[in-house]
């Protein structure tokens, strides 16, 4: 017997009744047709004829439609069936699409929830990464007209961007015309005394022109006047906003008060705005700096120069002018400036240029996660479109245009992706906080990272594009449906293309997951290999901290020496401390220190015979504390002081480079400004520049100079940033309180700061790579999970679809194992295709990780094997359940369905 109701329904469709009304009428008319058919049969009419007559009567389409239209139309609501009434404006009916879409998604809550969750992960990850990119790379710096700000460096034979000698800066500023003005600053720390406990504050010496150049507006007070930035004038100080708030309770009466910094009485004249992204707490005019390095062109005391380009001045022109000025200085001062020039770099590029490749890499990785999520949702939609085949067919039969069906489906997928964005935003907020917290301290502008209107716009754009991206394939498929085919009961056809698309999506997901896996595997290997690198000293049980002497001790060179010796002695006497020493420079930290030297004890030769080495000023026990091995000669002792011959230790790299095939012990070298020293020992090389990058640094030779032999004139400037290093018997950080007390001394006026265990210094030096590893592992795991879900989904659907076939197979004698094999082969085939393409792509793409990798190459076979194994296992697991279900198909049940 025919399915009356369906036949009647089709006739009614064009009337656009409410679904309830349509169902009611269809049922009634179907009943009528059936009654008529039965009656005709009873009266002896043949089956075919009875069917024809009954149908003709009830389904006299024109008469029925016109009859019903007259009755029913008056209260017919706005038609919700797609494809009708779409004449006129292209956007007409969008509201309708939306209403219908929301209803459809709500009806399939489970499906919608899964799709939205997958999209939320993808969109959330991208939003989080974008908020970092936005804050760090895209947003202009927080200064007015910041595009005109540039950093100006000196360049030399060994350095492309070196800090500037103060006299050079003065000449640059005087001679150049490309800039409206220049300013300069150098970081330093000040001892704040006189108001309770001594305190170490981070500070900067700045030229009076610096803040006008940057264009900062002060919330309180004023900036330095030019006359305050001259030697011999009374000291004035400016405070950072946070310091003013935190230390001085935001008191406006702070202006005019006097702070004692480095034993100088400085009058507070202004507070800097909170937007100034600097870490310093107090700012002094640079001419207040008494360091000997300020006045010489030999010395590059960490001075950084900032310029503001004149309006309309191009950076190229400014560069040309600066190079010309530097050339003039080189001729005028050949001894110091012969090989030097000047480099002009946009301030923002300079600040963030280093992290750009890393951040772009993360953008790529997050993009992959999103594509995988999209592919998964597209597959879900494809599977669901099978269930909705009939719906689309009826619409098509009613004359809905194809693009209109596509538009409806795209509306639904955009709704899904907007839902994903709504859920993804809180995820992103959380992710952004996590990223900034996990980001290495070297990430510039991390304080400016947050979710702002640009991020929201980005998320909106991404979700719209995403919605269209993953919706397009299913929509095109659905729109292609042939209504006649689909309306037939029990048709299984029209699916071939869809299954092919599903397969492609799964392979794509797998491929992208493989790339992310390979990337994270390479990062894991790099970090692991770096941790195996011998830094040249023993890392464990070393505690380090910066120390500052009391203003009283700083009064004379003799006082400084005595105070330093006593400080070390006090620390060494602490129980549990094996050895303690002072050094001007710690390995693997952020700071560096170099000195020029030449062989022998003659006068300074031409620049071609001058070489640069890493320069450590240390107390005698430093090699013992660090356990840097002595290879030849002797170590330093207390007797290497001002009354004995100046000596130095060199490392074995220098021994090999400078004295190849010769014993360096007893040889002389001349250190610029310090004079001739005799080499008394060779120690092992220390990875000063970083566990991974030290080997490739231009300057690797190292010289250790005794602290006690620093001449009087350099004594006060030489000890501004000394680090105390000690070797302890237990956990180094547990010694902090006792060491702090020992350093503070009887008068309790010598602060310690920047306290770190050496092992944390090492891990800090790997922070960038660790961060990348962490993010990639997270992304790769999510990718792997989504890909596994994708494979699982497609395989279970395939098994359901093939129930009959599997039933026939097992009825014909296929063993469960053969059935399992069949399913596994199909699933692993898809995964395998993705794997192969993914491996090839990862070899190409992971090359962009170049500088982050250490000890492994992009095509590292071990990595590729590991990725293959991991992916293979996961894909296998994803196939096992569907395969098990397939093997359990009961042939009788399967065939009864036919």
């Amino acid at each position: 017997m025919p399915e009356w109701k369906e036949l009647v329904r089709r006739q009614l469709a064009e009337l656009r009744l409410t679904p309830e009304r349509e169902a009611e009428i269809a049922e009634e008319l179907a009943q009528h047709a059936e009654d008529r058919y039965k009656e005709l049969k009873l009266s002896g009419v043949s089956d075919a004829e009875a069917l024809r007559l009954a149908l003709n009567e009830v389904l006299d389409q024109k008469a029925m439609a016109s009859g019903l239209r007259d009755v029913e139309r008056t209260d017919v609501p706005e038609p919700v069936v797609l494809g009708a009434g779409a004449q006129g404006h292209f956007l007409s009916g969008v509201g309708q699409d939306l209403r219908y879409g929301i209803r459809t998604l709500r009806k399939n809550a489970g499906f919608s929830a899964i799709a939205i969750l997958a999209l939320a992960i993808g969109i959330g990850a991208n939003t989080a990464i974008f908020s970092v990119v936005n804050g760090v790379l895209l947003q202009p710096l927080a200064y007015p007209d910041s595009a005109r700000l540039v950093n100006i460096y000196e360049t030399g034979a060994d350095f492309s961007h070196s800090s500037v000698a103060y006299p050079n800066y003065l000449d640059w500023r005087r001679e150049s015309h490309s800039f409206s003005d220049m300013g300069a600053y150098r970081n330093d720390d000040f001892n704040l005394t006189g108001s309770g406990h001594p305190e170490r504050v981070s500070g900067e010496y700045v030229t009076a022109s610096l803040f006008p150049v940057l264009g900062v507006t002060l919330p309180l007070g004023r900036a330095f006047r030019p006359e305050e930035d001259r030697p011999g004038t009374g000291c004035t100080v400016m405070l950072s906003y946070n310091f003013w708030q935190g230390r001085f309770g935001a008191e406006r009466t702070i202006l005019g008060k006097t702070l004692t910094l480095n034993a100088m009485n400085c009058v507070v004249i202004g507070v800097l705005p909170a937007s100034l992204s600097a870490t310093a707490q107090a700012y002094l005019p640079i001419e207040q700096w008494t360091g000997a390095g300020l006045r010489t062109r030999e010395s590059h005391p960490g001075l950084r120069v900032v310029g503001r380009l004149r309006l309309g001045m191009s950076i190229q022109a400014a560069r040309g002018e600066m190079e010309a000025i530097a050339k003039g200085l080189a001729q005028q001062y050949p001894a110091t400036n012969a090989s030097n020039s000047a480099a002009v770099v946009p301030m923002k590029d300079d600040m963030v240029g280093n992290v750009r490749p890393v951040l772009l890499l993360l953008v790529g990785a997050a993009g992959f996660v999103l594509i995988i999520a999209c592919a998964n949702v597209a597959n879900l939609l494809l599977a669901r479109s099978a269930a909705r085949k009939r719906e689309f067919a009826i619409r098509a039969a009613l004359g809905a245009e194809r693009w209109r069906v596509v538009r409806q489906l795209l509306t639904e997928s955009v709704l899904l992706s907007l839902g994903g964005a709504a859920v993804g935003l809180p995820l992103a907020q959380w992710g952004t906080t996590l990223l900034v917290a996990a980001a290495p301290a070297t990430l510039p502008r991390s304080g400016e990272v947050g979710i702002d209107v640009y991020v929201l716009l980005f998320t909106l754009a991404v979700s719209l594009v995403t919605g269209i991206l993953f919706g397009l394939a299913p929509a095109m498929h659905s729109a292609k449906t042939n209504p006649q085919e689909s309306l037939k009961e029990g048709t299984r056809g029209a699916g071939g293309g869809r299954h092919r698309t599903e397969g492609i999506f799964v392979a794509l997901e797998t491929c992208l997951a493989v790339i992310l896996l390979a990337g994270s595997a390479l990062m894991i290997q790099s970090v692991w290999r770096l941790l195996q690198v011998n830094p040249g000293f023993t890392v464990s049980h070393i505690l380090t901290m910066q120390v500052a002497l009391s203003p009283k001790a700083m009064a004379s060179p003799v006082g400084i020496r005595t105070a330093l010796q006593q400080l070390v002695q006090r620390v060494e006497m602490l129980p549990g401390v094996q050895a303690a020493a002072l050094t001007s420079l710690l390995p693997l930290g952020d700071s560096d220190s170099e000195i020029d030297f030449w062989l022998g004890n003659g006068p300074q030769p031409g620049p071609e015979r001058i070489k640069t080495v890493v320069f450590y000023v240390v107390s005698p026990d430093y090699p013992a504390v660090m356990q840097i091995p002595l290879l030849r000669g002797r170590v330093l002792t207390e007797r290497d002081n001002l009354s004995s011959t100046p000596v130095a230790l060199i490392d074995d790299v220098m021994a090999r480079q400078i004295f190849p095939g010769v014993d360096p012990i007893g040889r002389q070298i001349s250190l610029i400004a310090l004079g001739t020293v005799q080499i008394v020992g060779v120690v092992g090389h220390v990875k000063q520049w970083g566990l991974g990058s030290d080997d490739t640094n231009k300057i690797r030779s190292q010289v250790y100079f005794p602290l006690l032999q620093i001449p009087d004139k350099f004594m006060s400037s030489g000890v501004t940033a000394l680090t105390l290093a000690l070797r302890s018997k237990g956990e180094p950080l547990s010694f902090v309180p006792s060491v702090r007390a020992a350093v503070a001394g009887p008068a309790d006026d010598q602060p310690v700061y920047a306290v770190q265990a050496m092992k944390d210094v090492i891990s800090g030096s790997l922070a960038g790579r660790r961060f990348m590893m962490f993010v990639l592992i997270v992304f790769a795991s999510v990718a792997l999970l989504l890909a596994a879900v994708g494979i699982y989904g497609v395989m279970s659907y395939a098994v359901t679809r093939r129930t009959n076939e599997l039933g026939v197979r097992s009825a014909l004698g296929a063993s469960p194992w053969q059935i399992v094999g069949l399913v596994l082969r199909q699933g692993m085939g898809l995964a395998g295709a993705g794997l192969i393409v993914g491996l090839a792509a990862s070899v190409m793409l992971t090359r962009f990780m170049g500088s982050l990798l250490y000890g492994v190459g992009a095509g590292d076979p071990l990595t590729l094997v590991a990725v293959t194994v991991v992916l293979g296992v996961v894909a296998m697991l994803a196939c096992v359940l569907p395969a098990k279900r397939a093997s359990a198909v009961d042939p009788v049940v399967a065939l009864r369905c036919e």
């Binding site: 049922e27 009528h32 008529r36 009567e57 006299d60 008469a63 009859g67 009755v71």
Partner: protein, 114 residues
């Protein structure tokens, strides 16, 4: 459709009355109504589903009849129509009108023939 003897116009005018009277005393479903019209008119009047149901719905909408789904054992549910109070008044009025109309007609036509 109508038999040749009866013109469609006539049927249109009388259809509402026919339907209403058939369900006056007992609720009936659409097929039964159609069947009864055909039987009682001895085949002279026949309503196809395509005109019967739209008419029923129209009457229902006017509030003269009311359809109700009724399930009986062993059968699919069917929609039974009965008269509403308003429908009863309408039926009475229509019946009266029809009777006076028929009377008037027969007077005119019968007088000539008689």
């Amino acid at each position: 459709m109508f038999n040749q003897a009866m013109s469609p116009e006539w049927k249109k005018g009388s259809a509402e009355l026919l339907l209403l009277s058939l369900i006056e005393s007992v609720p009936r479903h659409g097929y039964e109504i159609g069947k009864l019209i055909e039987q009682r008119s001895q085949g002279a009047l026949r309503f196809h589903a395509a005109s019967l149901y739209p008419l029923l719905y129209r009457l229902e909408k006017r509030g003269w009849v009311q359809g109700k789904w009724v399930e009986k054992a062993g059968q699919r549910r069917r929609r039974y129509y009965n008269l509403t109070a308003q429908g009863r008044k309408v039926l009475a009025a229509q019946r009266k009108g029809w009777e006076s109309f028929v009377l008037a007609i027969s007077r005119v036509t019968g007088a000539e023939n008689a």
